[in-house]
């Protein structure tokens, strides 16, 4: 139980990068970008191929991020210069990337089991210093006997995700960032304040997909493989994280919202790992579980809201009846 919880947080933190990318396109730019399913794999594919061919994992990850950025820019170009609607631009790019990813990989699956990755290097560095021991002692102190393989990945993922989160927060408050947000909010208006909305959309989608590819590159190194099909439904997972996070943790400020998105990604993973513990569900049901979670996350707030409304109306009606009844009573009193 504890170990699957631990694993869910670990991978949730890595998927949070993808969710932050989805947040940028869907929420900030107001652009439903479906490129994600493709660019996630592009990140994984580029990283895996480079690592297998002997590049340093760091270099491989950086190139993967750049590849995601380029993919996002293409979607932006299709929309702004080609005047293709946002959904279609994303789908076209997603389909195109499917073939491109296969070209990059040369086959549909690349195992990384015996390669050194960012995570293996960090882990061996961490374990050499014996840094996991105090955390494991802490666990046994609070009565949990199971020890995770290493704490290195958790902390590494946490640091990376927080860095990206804070960079995003900062960026969205810069002059360029403000213009980007305004582009999502009110394009006509920001054009009248000398912003080139085409460039901003291209840039925004580039950054968004760079985050997604970053996440893909790390997931490949974490899971030990890249696979042409690993991106299927990724956009829905990203959306689920954004929606769940916003509903649970609020959207008061930018910093709060990005934190909520990271939280949403982790909660999503925890929910999935709990769902998988149900006996009759297995890993092939993942996509179904994802859909159900998103549908629930979309419908639940509305149901809660309308129930609250109904209760409020009922309360008002009872109050009114009481007032009427007491007035009635007074009249009778006067009459007698």
């Amino acid at each position: 139980m504890f170990l699957s919880f631990f694993g869910a947080i670990e991978s949730g933190l890595i998927y949070a990068l993808m969710a932050l990318g989805v947040f940028l396109s869907f929420r900030v730019l107001n652009f439903p970008d479906l490129t994600v399913d493709g660019s996630f794999v592009t990140g994984a594919a580029v990283a895996a191929v480079m690592i297998v061919n002997g590049s340093s994992p760091l270099m491989a990850t950086v190139v993967a991020i750049v590849a995601g950025f380029v993919a996002g820019c293409f979607t932006g170009l299709l929309h702004t210069k080609g005047k293709i609607n946002p959904l279609l631009s994303g789908i076209l790019m997603m389909i195109a990337l499917y073939s491109i990813n296969l070209r990059i990989m040369g086959r549909s699956n690349i195992p990384l089991l015996n390669e050194s990755t960012l995570f293996t290097s960090i882990t061996s560095f961490w374990e050499n210093l014996g840094l996991s021991t105090p955390f494991n002692q802490m666990l046994s102190f609070i009565g949990i006997q199971a020890n995770p393989r290493t704490w290195a990945i958790l902390f590494f993922a946490l640091i990376i995700t927080l860095i990206v989160k804070f960079l995003t927060d900062y960026f969205l408050k810069t002059e360029v960032g403000l213009a980007l947000r305004a582009t999502g909010d009110n394009q006509k208006m920001i054009r009248s304040f000398s912003a080139n909305t085409d460039i901003l959309i291209i840039l925004g989608l580039g950054i968004s997909n760079a985050f997604v590819a970053f996440s893909g590159a790390l997931i490949a190194q974490h899971g030990g493989f890249a696979d042409a099909g690993m991106g299927i439904g990724m956009i829905i997972i990203g959306l689920a994280s954004v929606i769940i996070g916003e509903a649970l943790f609020g959207t008061k400020t930018i910093a709060r919202t990005t934190l909520a998105v990271v939280g949403g990604a982790i909660v999503y993973r925890i929910v999935v790992s709990l769902a998988l513990r149900v006996d009759f569900l297995d890993t092939s049901d993942m996509k179904l579980i994802t859909s159900v979670i998103v549908i629930a996350a979309l419908i639940a707030p509305k149901v809660i809201e309308s129930n609250r409304e109904r209760r409020r109306r009922k309360r008002k009606r009872i109050e009114l009846e009481q007032v009427l009844a007491s007035e009635e009573g007074e009249k009778k009193n006067v009459a007698t």
């Binding site: 002059e175 403000l178 208006m189 000398s194 912003a195």
Partner: protein
């Protein structure tokens, strides 16, 4: 300052919906001129504004600002030196962003946007000073989301955002039309103040004849895509609503009052 030379624009040319929105329009404004524009619905007033701002390109003719032709300059490049307020109070601001963020975005209009924070201490102070001139108490609500403001407050903010970088040209398209009378009056007053304070060359479309007479030093009347009356600085102070109506009847041979709702 602003010159339009034989500007024409036709929508849906060659179809049943063909609409000659502008026909050989000539206009010449000096620096600091304040032009009010009246005319019935569909006369081409908004189209004229859009041609100046660059959101529409004319079929023929050219637009010259400060002796430079901007006819083919894209809207976002032109808007470095053209401020604009729209009729719809929702149109001029970004609702999900705060007051200070909206102002910061507008403040970057005539600068290159950088990766430095848009809002800093110094700017906050500056924004507060500007906001306090509106007398709406907005200076105490810098971090409130603009979506929470009333229509009048938003329009006042739009007006400030459009003007405080002192653009060469200010375009106001019925920017008080969507407000209730008392709010409209307030915005009109603020408009007169900011235009005077920054000495802006201004074009203001209004459906309110009295407003068109009260504000500005020049006036044009448009109809069917043409400027049918051009009142200069000397003549404008002597103008009355009756004279304008008579003038229209003399030129067009029909009653303008039939369009009372538009020219109330």
């Amino acid at each position: 300052m602003l010159q339009l030379n034989r500007v024409s624009l036709t929508f849906n040319e060659g179809t049943l919906d063909e609409k000659k929105a502008l026909q050989h329009v000539n206009l010449n404004l000096k620096r600091g001129d304040f032009l009010t524009i009246i005319g019935s619905n569909g006369a081409g007033k908004s189209t004229l504004m859009n041609v100046v701002s660059g959101s529409l390109l004319p079929d023929t003719g050219n637009v010259i600002i400060d002796d430079k032709s901007v006819t083919h300059l894209q809207e976002f490049r032109r808007s470095r030196f053209i401020g604009r307020v729209f009729q719809d109070p929702m149109a001029g601001t970004a609702p999900s962003m705060t007051i200070e963020e909206n102002l910061a975005m507008a403040w970057s209009r005539n600068k290159n946007r950088t990766l430095k924070p848009g809002v800093n201490k110094k700017r906050k102070q500056l924004f507060k000073e500007h906001l306090s001139t509106l007398n709406l108490g907005l200076e105490d609500r810098l971090t409130a989301k603009v979506g929470l403001l009333s229509g009048g407050e938003r329009q006042a903010l739009s007006l400030l955002m459009a003007t405080f970088t002192e653009p060469k040209i200010l375009l106001l398209d019925e920017h008080t039309a969507a407000l209730d009378p008392s709010r409209a009056e307030l915005i009109t007053e603020i408009t007169a103040n900011v235009v005077e304070k920054f000495g802006l060359t201004t074009l203001m479309v209004t459906h309110n004849m009295q407003q068109a007479l009260d504000l500005g030093n020049r006036l044009i009347m448009m109809d069917k895509g043409q400027i049918i009356l051009d009142v200069d600085e000397k003549e404008k102070p002597t103008l009355t609503v009756e004279k304008l109506l008579d003038e229209f009847q003399r030129i067009r041979g029909e009653q303008l009052m039939s369009d009372k709702t538009v020219l109330g």
